[in-house]
C-alpha cells in the first residue's frame, strides 16, 4: 500500500462524488416526491450523454454549452414519459411500476443502440480534456473538477428550490400527503410532472459530463440506475438531504480502494456494493 497516493485518492473520490450525487438526487426526487421506483433513471443519464455527443459531433458544441440544450430536452422527455405512462400507475403495486419503468428503460436503451450502435463514444476533442492543475503533488483534472463544480451547483440549486420556493414547498407537501396537498388546492399531477421532468433533467446533465469523462456505450444506463439506487437506499428512502453524504462515502470508498489496494481497480464495483450490503445488513440487525 502506497500512502503517498492517499491525498490523490481523497481528491479523486470527492470529485467523483459530485456526479454520483447529481444522478442519485434525481432518482431520490422521483422516489421521494412521486413515489415511483424508476428503473429507467439511468437511461435519462445515457440519453443526456449521447445527445451531448451528437451535438458535439454535428455542430461542434462544447459540452458546457450543450448542457443548455440537453437540460430542456430531457425535461420534456421526462414530462412526456410521465404524462403518457407513469401517471397511470401511481396507485398500482410497486412491482407493476417497476415492470413499467424497466420497459421504458429497454425502449430508450435500444433506441439509442439503433441510433448510435454499441461502440463506446466520447467527446474526446475538447481542448481541456487532458488539462489539469497540480496542487502540491495532487493532480486535479480540469474535467472532473468542472463536473464536480457543476454537480455541486445543481444539487445546491435543487436543495434551494426544495427549501425556499413555492414549487419546492408544493413538492414537499405532495410527498408528505398526496390527498392533503390536493385538498389545499395544489395541482398534484402538475407537481409530479415537474418533479419527474426535473429528475430526468438532472440525470441528463450528469450524462453530459460522463460523455466527457469516460467513453460510454448506450448500455451505460443500467449501471448508473443501480448505483443511484444504492446511494438512495444508503441515504434512506425519502431522505433527499442524505444523498450528498451517501454519495461522498461511496465515492471515497471506491477511490481509496481503487488507488491504494493493489489491483484495486477491478474491485471498484465490489467495494461500492459491499458497502451498501454491509450498511443494510447492519441496519436490519440494529435494535430499533
Amino acid at each position: 500500500m502506497d500512502l503517498t497516493l492517499l491525498p490523490q485518492a481523497l481528491v479523486s473520490g470527492v470529485l467523483a462524488s459530485g456526479l454520483y450525487a447529481l444522478v442519485a438526487v434525481g432518482l431520490a426526487l422521483a422516489i421521494g416526491v412521486i413515489g415511483i421506483v424508476n428503473f429507467a433513471h439511468g437511461e435519462f443519464f445515457m440519453v443526456g450523454a449521447f445527445l451531448a455527443y451528437q451535438l458535439f459531433v454535428s455542430f461542434g458544441f462544447d459540452p458546457l454549452l450543450s448542457i443548455l440544450f440537453v437540460a430542456p430536452v430531457l425535461f420534456v422527455i421526462g414530462a412526456a414519459i410521465y404524462s403518457s405512462t407513469i401517471r397511470f400507475v401511481l396507485k398500482a403495486p410497486e412491482l407493476n411500476q417497476m415492470l413499467l419503468t424497466f420497459g421504458i428503460g429497454i425502449v430508450l436503451q435500444n433506441l439509442a443502440l439503433m441510433v448510435w450502435g454499441g461502440d463506446p463514444r466520447s467527446i474526446g476533442g475538447v481542448p481541456y480534456r487532458a488539462m489539469g492543475i497540480q496542487l502540491g503533488g495532487v493532480s486535479v483534472g480540469l474535467v472532473p473538477l468542472g463536473s464536480f463544480v457543476v454537480s455541486v451547483l445543481l444539487v445546491g440549486a435543487l436543495y434551494w428550490v426544495l427549501a425556499r420556493t413555492p414549487l419546492g414547498r408544493a413538492m414537499r407537501a405532495v410527498a408528505q400527503n398526496r390527498v392533503g396537498a390536493g385538498l389545499v388546492g395544489l395541482e398534484v399531477n402538475r407537481v409530479y410532472l415537474v418533479a419527474f421532468g426535473l429528475s430526468a433533467l438532472l440525470a441528463g446533465i450528469g450524462g453530459v459530463m460522463i460523455a466527457v469523462i469516460q467513453s460510454p456505450t448506450p448500455t451505460v444506463g443500467l449501471a448508473y440506475t443501480l448505483k443511484a439506487f444504492a446511494i438512495v437506499v444508503l441515504a434512506g428512502l425519502g431522505n433527499i438531504r442524505g444523498i450528498v453524504s451517501a454519495a461522498i462515502v461511496v465515492a471515497l470508498a471506491e477511490s481509496l480502494v481503487a488507488t491504494l489496494v493493489p489491483n484495486g481497480d477491478a474491485l471498484r464495483n465490489a467495494v461500492f456494493f459491499a458497502l451498501i450490503l454491509g450498511t443494510l445488513v447492519y441496519r436490519s440487525w440494529r435494535r430499533p
Binding site: 412491482l95 415492470l99 429497454i106 443502440l113 439506487f229 437506499v233 474491485l267 465490489a270 456494493f273 436490519s284
Partner: protein
C-alpha cells in the same frame, strides 16, 4: 385442506408436462430439420419459465429479490469448478449447484430477510454484484478469472453415417436438453402447486400482506421468507448449472449478468403474480413474442419488446392471468344476466 384441488392441479401439471415431453417428436415429424431451431426456442422458453416460477415463489412472501443472477451464476460456477478440479461424474454438478445456491441463500436470507421492500431488493442486488467480483478474483486455476472456464456438454450424440442425417445430431442434443429443462420445470411446478395447496400458501400470503398480523397469528415471518428464498434458489442454481453445460462455458460478466434477474422478475409480473400458471404462460408468450419480433424486425426488436412490456402494464395490470380471469368473469356475468331474461321470454337456455 383442499385435497381435491391439489389432485386436480397435480393432474393438470402432469398433463401439461406430458404434452411438452411429446413436443420434440411432434416437431421433428412436422418440420424435419427446422425442428432443431424450434426446439432451441422451446428450451429457452422452458428455461425462462423455470426462472420466472422460482422468482414468483419468493415474491409470494412479499420479498422482491434481485439476487437471482447470483444463485444462477453460483450454480453455474459450482458445476464448472467441480468438473474442472475433480473427476466427478458429469451429472453431479447439477445437484451440487442446487446445494451451493441453497447455502448462499440461507446465509444471505438470514442476514437480510428482516429488510423489506426496496431495501431488501437493493441488498440482494448488492450481494449479486459482490459475488460476481468475488468469483472474478478467485484463483485463475479454480475459476478462470474474468475469462471464465469451459464445461463439457451434458449430451454428446454420436453421428452414425448412413443411419441418420447430419442435423439429427443437433436435434438429439437439443432434445436431451429440452427434456432436462422440462424435468426442472416439472420440479418447479410441483413445488409451486404444493405451496399453493398447503398451509404454506396462507403463511406466504399472510407474510406478504401484513407481517405483524402474520406474527400474531403464529406464522414466523422470518422463517417463512427464508423457506421460500431457499427453495427458489435451489431451483435457480440447478438451472444455472444446466444452462452452463448447454452454453459450454461460464464467464463472470455473462453468467452473473443482471439480465437474468431482470428476466426473472419481468416474466411473472407480465404473466400474473402469485400463481403457478402466470409465470409459465408469460414465459411461453414472451419467448414467442421476442422470437417473432427478432425475425420480423431484426434490428431494434428489443424496442418493440419494451413497448410490449409498457403497454401490458398499462392495459393489463394483473398480468395475463388477470386478463383471462376478467374475461371469464365478464362472460359469466353476461350469461347470468341473459339467462333469466331468456326464461322469461320462454326461450331456450343458451
Amino acid at each position: 385442506m383442499r385435497r381435491r384441488g391439489l389432485w386436480l392441479d397435480l393432474l393438470a401439471a402432469a398433463v401439461f408436462v406430458g404434452l411438452l415431453a411429446g413436443l420434440p417428436a411432434a416437431l421433428r415429424a412436422a418440420y424435419g430439420q427446422a425442428s432443431v431451431s424450434y426446439l432451441a426456442l422451446g428450451i429457452r422458453a422452458v428455461g425462462l419459465a423455470v426462472l420466472a416460477l422460482s422468482w414468483d415463489l419468493v415474491a409470494r412472501t412479499g420479498q422482491l429479490s434481485l439476487a437471482h443472477a447470483a444463485f444462477y451464476g453460483a450454480g453455474a460456477y459450482a458445476a464448472a469448478v467441480l468438473l474442472k478440479l475433480t473427476g466427478a461424474p458429469l451429472w453431479l454438478g447439477v445437484p451440487l449447484a442446487g446445494a451451493v445456491a441453497a447455502v448462499l441463500a440461507l446465509g444471505l436470507g438470514a442476514a437480510t430477510l428482516r429488510l423489506y421492500g426496496i431495501y431488501f431488493a437493493i441488498a440482494t442486488l448488492a450481494f449479486a454484484e459482490v459475488l460476481k467480483t468475488v468469483v472474478k478474483s478467485l484463483p485463475f486455476a479454480v475459476a478462470g478469472g474474468s475469462v471464465g472456464t469451459n464445461l463439457p456438454p451434458l449430451f454428446r450424440p454420436v453421428f452414425v453415417a448412413g443411419e441418420m442425417e447430419r442435423w439429427e445430431v443437433a436435434f438429439l442434443r437439443n432434445r436431451g436438453y429440452f427434456l432436462v429443462y422440462l424435468g426442472l420445470l416439472a420440479l418447479a411446478v410441483l413445488v409451486s402447486v404444493l405451496v399453493q395447496r398447503s398451509r404454506l400458501r396462507y403463511a406466504f400470503t399472510a407474510v406478504r400482506t401484513n407481517e405483524a398480523v402474520a406474527g400474531v397469528m403464529g406464522v414466523d415471518p422470518a422463517r417463512t421468507k427464508l423457506v421460500a428464498f431457499v427453495i427458489s434458489s435451489v431451483i435457480v442454481g440447478m438451472l444455472g448449472a444446466i444452462e452452463a453445460h448447454r452454453f459450454g462455458s461460464v464467464n463472470p460478466d455473462a453468467t452473473f449478468s443482471v439480465h437474468t434477474t431482470v428476466l426473472a422478475l419481468v416474466t411473472p409480473i407480465f404473466g400474473g403474480l402469485y400463481t403457478t400458471v402466470g409465470p409459465i404462460l408469460a414465459a411461453l408468450v414472451l419467448s414467442g413474442v421476442e422470437e417473432t419480433l427478432k425475425r420480423t424486425l431484426a434490428d431494434g426488436y428489443l424496442v418493440a419488446y419494451g413497448v410490449v412490456l409498457v403497454v401490458s402494464v398499462l392495459f393489463m395490470p394483473r398480468g395475463l392471468v388477470g386478463l383471462l380471469r376478467g374475461l371469464v368473469r365478464r362472460e359469466r356475468a353476461r350469461r347470468a344476466a341473459a339467462a333469466p331474461r331468456a326464461e322469461a321470454l320462454g326461450g331456450r337456455d343458451a
